[in-house]
């Protein structure tokens, strides 16, 4: 077996040194009734390396992908450009095959990359501090709610119905086993269509509220002014939590920090990480400095070594499960370390200018599409970043368009009810990135015309 260095001669010699006669003697402490016969499990026969490549290649070829299809899909996962350098850096064995940097003397590479990551994420989101990642955006949102409860010592969580339904349901699930109240403020039937009605949300805040969670841009792509909510949170002494699904937005529009967020969480997948059928992605978690000690997850901090040279360590570990056990701020241990290195590499390649171009091209593609829509399709109104909702007269019209687009190598959007089960089945959630070219938009519009 090519991953096992021992020959049978090695094994015999080692067994002899240990003082046992057979491999099975090493398992004598496992009751005999539990011993399996070798080869008895119902698992496929061993494959050679060539066999593995063949099998995976065949499976991959059954999947349509972004090299042969134009993607207008979002909903929390985006087809942004991934530069070759990012994948090269995270493929290096020293990053790829390292453990969590608990031995800092021989982990300074991971640690400095984490420190740079934290710094750039804090700057991009306009927040004071960032941790060294959560799994992804939905669990990061749930952790933000839990943190707000700890900070405020209150246990009522209010969430806008315009937050991604997956972030909402995961947060509701996390909170459902703990004392306290979880209130979702339905945005349907309010004055705002596919957007966030702040008046309605603010009306749901009371003095028992620990935090209000909004998404910005919201699930439907709507961009709006958060200052009325900031004022309401101040009045009720609760925290304002801002979730986001595409962090690249903040190279173009005002950041959560500038909007007054106490905690901002969301997805870093757009920063050089492929869609990957949903993972591994990157959960971002940022907050104000004063709440630092209630933050979940690992953080990397600056310090110096015995010779006075600058260095980095994982720090504030007394918040964490391996020290504090049941009183820890979170149970999270393994997080998305390598994805932080990917995002740090990506942001370094891009810089302010590149990030701004990504965001501007993403938004410009949407504007181009929306401004040319035929009459039988309407787009949600108001400021949108790179995502919006297109509405058709009925489900039949929408699905006919989706099928025709698919036949023309375009994934034209996600049926809204696929993510938001409460939605009428005639809407389409549509997202654009810098990977969408003018020709793709023209093709999209042409198919809309012919499926009228």
């Amino acid at each position: 077996m090519r991953f096992l260095p021992h020959t049978d001669t090695d094994r015999s010699a080692m067994l002899e040194k240990i003082g046992v006669s057979a491999m099975s003697d090493l398992f004598a402490d496992i009751p005999a009734e539990f011993h399996l016969d070798e080869g008895s499990l119902n698992i496929a026969d061993a494959l050679s390396e060539a066999g593995i490549v063949r099998k995976f290649t065949r499976a991959a070829e059954k999947n349509r992908n972004a090299t042969n299809t134009r993607y207008f899909l979002g909903g929390g996962t985006y087809n942004h450009f991934v530069p070759a350098v990012v994948d090269y850096i995270i493929s290096r064995g020293e990053f790829l095959t390292a453990y969590t940097p608990y031995q800092p003397e021989i982990s300074q590479g991971t640690l400095q990359a984490l420190f740079e990551f934290q710094t750039m994420i804090a700057r991009l989101t306009g927040m004071d501090v960032s941790n060294a990642s959560m799994y992804e955006a939905a669990t990061a949102t749930a952790e933000a709610a839990l943190m707000a409860r700890r900070v405020t010592r209150k246990n009522r969580v209010v969430m806008a119905g315009s937050v991604n339904p997956r972030y909402r349901s995961v947060t509701a699930n996390y909170l459902s086993r703990l004392d306290g109240e979880f209130v979702e403020v339905d945005m349907a039937g309010s004055g705002t269509t596919f957007g966030t009605d702040l008046d309605k949300l603010i009306a749901a805040i009371d003095e028992k509220t620990a935090c209000v969670i909004v998404q910005y841009p919201d699930f439907y792509g709507s961009v709006y002014d958060l200052s009325p909510l900031r004022a309401a949170c101040d009045a009720a002494k609760c925290l304002m939590v801002v979730a986001f699904s595409d962090v690249s937005a903040f190279a173009l529009i005002e950041s959560p920090g500038a909007m007054g967020a106490d905690i901002a969480v969301g997805s870093g997948q757009p920063l050089g990480i492929p869609m990957g059928f949903g993972g591994p992605h990157l959960g971002l978690f940022t907050c104000k400095q004063k709440y630092l000690r209630q933050m979940p997850g690992r953080v990397c901090g600056l310090t110096s070594d015995a010779d006075g040279k600058r260095g980095f360590v994982l720090t504030l570990s007394t918040r964490e499960q391996h020290i504090r056990r049941e009183k820890a701020t979170s149970n999270i241990c393994t997080n998305q370390g390598l994805m932080c290195t990917a995002a740090a590499t990506y942001m370094t390649l891009m810089g302010d200018a590149g990030l701004a171009t990504v965001a501007r091209h993403s938004a410009a593609a949407l504007q181009s599409l929306v401004s040319q829509l035929p009459d039988h399709v309407t787009a949600a109104s108001g400021a949108r970043f790179n995502e919006t909702v297109l509405s058709f007269v009925d489900q039949e019209a929408r699905d006919a368009f989706l099928a025709a687009a698919k036949a023309g190598d375009i994934f034209a959007g996600i049926p809204l009810e696929q993510i938001d089960s409460a939605a009428e089945p005639r809407h389409l959630l549509v997202a654009t990135t810098e990977m969408v070219e003018t020709d793709d938009i023209n093709d999209y519009l042409a198919i809309l015309e012919v499926t009228k």
Binding site: F34, L36, Q103, A364
Partner: protein, 499 residues
């Protein structure tokens, strides 16, 4: 006896003296950002409505040219120890070789560049691989029903406990909220229980480091929801009473949760489900060789028996006739636990690892892992204190008791290992012994490497006895940075660069 076991060579250890460059923070590279990277897309206008929200102050992300970016991060990488660099004997972490073919196949565009919400008839290939993996993990664990969705081991623990809680609630037993956790358990166990709205009671380990049946019986009652057990435990010992332990918990009306962090000792040899475990998370970044990446991503699939199957989270991967589907609707489910279908790229690497061994060779994973741990234990047991006697499983536990007499602590031994070219073992865990050193070699290390590591450990023991302890307290001397001041970092936390 220290060196007699190995052939004399020019150098005994690989000792860290490579080319290492000082490299500033990228914020300190003092020049104007170069011309922006050439990006595709629509170079048009954004809407007037959106313009009203334009960011006023630049984020100040520095931006380096491509050659500078590559050199910056390559230099950083060279400050890291990785499995590809050297031995990584971290106990309970299972740091084994990460096959390169796994990296190659998950980067196929048909697996890397696909969206979780694209039409399911265009993702049948990935769903088929995942469905197959579910079946294999069910076989390996002896627990046939799977969710692949949990993002890491701790997430799997939470999901498993949620299912147990749901099963108890369905029986009308909302009063069962007590979770028993041995004092040798990973810290995630009590933290996950707390997050699941349950409270933990710590079980004191017996004199042999195993679960004490009398202690267990004392705490089992009609409020018990579950026992969380790690088997083999974190002292590297198999809980030989596992059948009786599970029976006792079941008789008391509770469930047995298995922490699968140490599954590497059992894979292909014996199955937790056969022993009475109801629910098990599997750290594929340990047992199934997906890279640790400097702290993730991992994945923590959870396998359960028939009793807990109704409560599996959604979406589930099912086979419906000849097609595969992500199924989101299920009345009894605990609901969604992650915003995506899971850490798919990680899971696919695990699939490739199992494929390489197949039914014929899978048991050799546990076989060689346990062989290697016992070989190390055998070579070190006369010179280091072994708190619990007998054969170990995939990891062996030592303490610094003998070296303490010379004023040398576990931390000193660990740091000296760095100078000798090895990553330290897990230190000060488990908490049930003083000065723990937990060593897990895995199945992918050669005898030559094991001997070199043992020689290094024996040389350290020699140095203690010779009174040559100064270098141990000072260690490490060779790497790029020496001992870091962790107190300063925690007292005055600087988490972002203010330059």
């Amino acid at each position: 006896m220290s060196c007699n076991d190995t052939t004399e060579t020019t150098f005994k250890y690989s000792a860290t003296v490579g080319i290492q460059h000082e490299e500033p923070l990228l914020f300190e590279h003092a020049h104007e950002a170069p011309e922006s990277i050439n990006l595709p897309g629509v170079n048009g206008d954004i809407s007037a409505a959106l313009s009203a929200f334009s960011r006023q102050q630049a984020a100040n992300i520095p931006g380096l040219s491509e050659p500078e970016t590559v050199r910056h991060f390559v230099r950083l990488s060279q400050w890291n120890h990785g499995i590809e660099t050297g031995f990584y004997p971290l106990g309970s972490c299972t740091m084994k070789y990460n096959p390169r073919v796994n990296e190659q196949v998950v980067r196929l565009p048909g697996l890397a560049h696909i969206h979780p919400d694209q039409p399911q008839d265009t993702t049948q290939g990935v769903l088929e691989l995942l469905y197959e993996l579910q079946g294999w993990l069910g076989e390996i664990s002896g627990l046939p029903h799977l969710t692949l969705q949990p993002a890491a081991g701790a997430h799997g623990e939470l999901v498993g406990l949620m299912m147990i809680r749901a099963a108890l609630d369905a029986r009308g037993q909302q009063h069962r909220r007590k979770v028993l956790v041995p004092d040798s358990a990973h810290g995630t166990n009590p933290a996950s229980a707390a997050l699941c709205g349950m409270h933990t009671v710590e079980l004191k380990s017996g004199a042999d480091g195993r679960i004490d049946l009398d202690e267990l019986k004392r705490h089992l009652d009609d409020e018990t929801a579950a026992l969380m057990m790690t088997n083999p435990n974190t002292a590297g010992a198999f809980e030989s009473d596992v059948k009786e332990i599970c029976q006792l918990v079941h008789d008391a009306g509770g469930f047995v949760y298995g922490d699968g962090a140490n599954l590497n000792a059992l894979v292909g040899v014996a199955r937790p489900g056969d022993m009475g475990i109801d629910c098990l998370h599997i750290n594929v970044h340990k047992t199934f060789s997906t890279p640790h990446g400097g702290g993730g991503p991992g994945a923590g699939p959870v396998a359960v028996n028939d009793m807990l199957a109704p409560y599996l989270p959604v979406p589930r991967i099912e086979k419906q006739g000849d097609t595969f589907a992500l199924v989101a609707n299920c009345e009894t489910s605990i609901g969604p636990v992650l915003g995506t279908p899971g850490q798919i790229g990680v899971l696919l690497r695990a699939h490739a690892y199992i494929s390489a061994f197949g039914r014929q060779h899978l048991h050799q994973i546990a076989g060689d892992a346990v062989l290697n741990a016992n070989y190390i234990l055998h070579r070190l047991k006369e010179r280091y204190h072994v708190p619990f006697k007998g054969l170990c499983k995939h990891e062996c536990l030592l303490t610094d008791e003998i070296q303490n007499k010379h004023g040398v602590k576990t931390l000193d031994i660990a740091k000296r290992l760095i100078d000798l070219g090895f990553h330290p073992m897990t230190v000060y865990f488990p908490l049930i012994v003083h000065g723990a050193m937990l060593i897990e070699p895995t199945e992918t290390e050669s005898r030559e490497t094991l001997d070199a590591f043992c020689d290094a450990m024996l040389d350290i023991a020699d140095a203690c006895e010779a009174g040559d302890t100064e270098m141990l307290h000072e260690a490490p001397l060779k790497p790029f940075r020496r001992r870091l001041d962790e107190t300063q970092a925690a007292r005055n936390p600087v988490l972002v660069w203010q330059g």
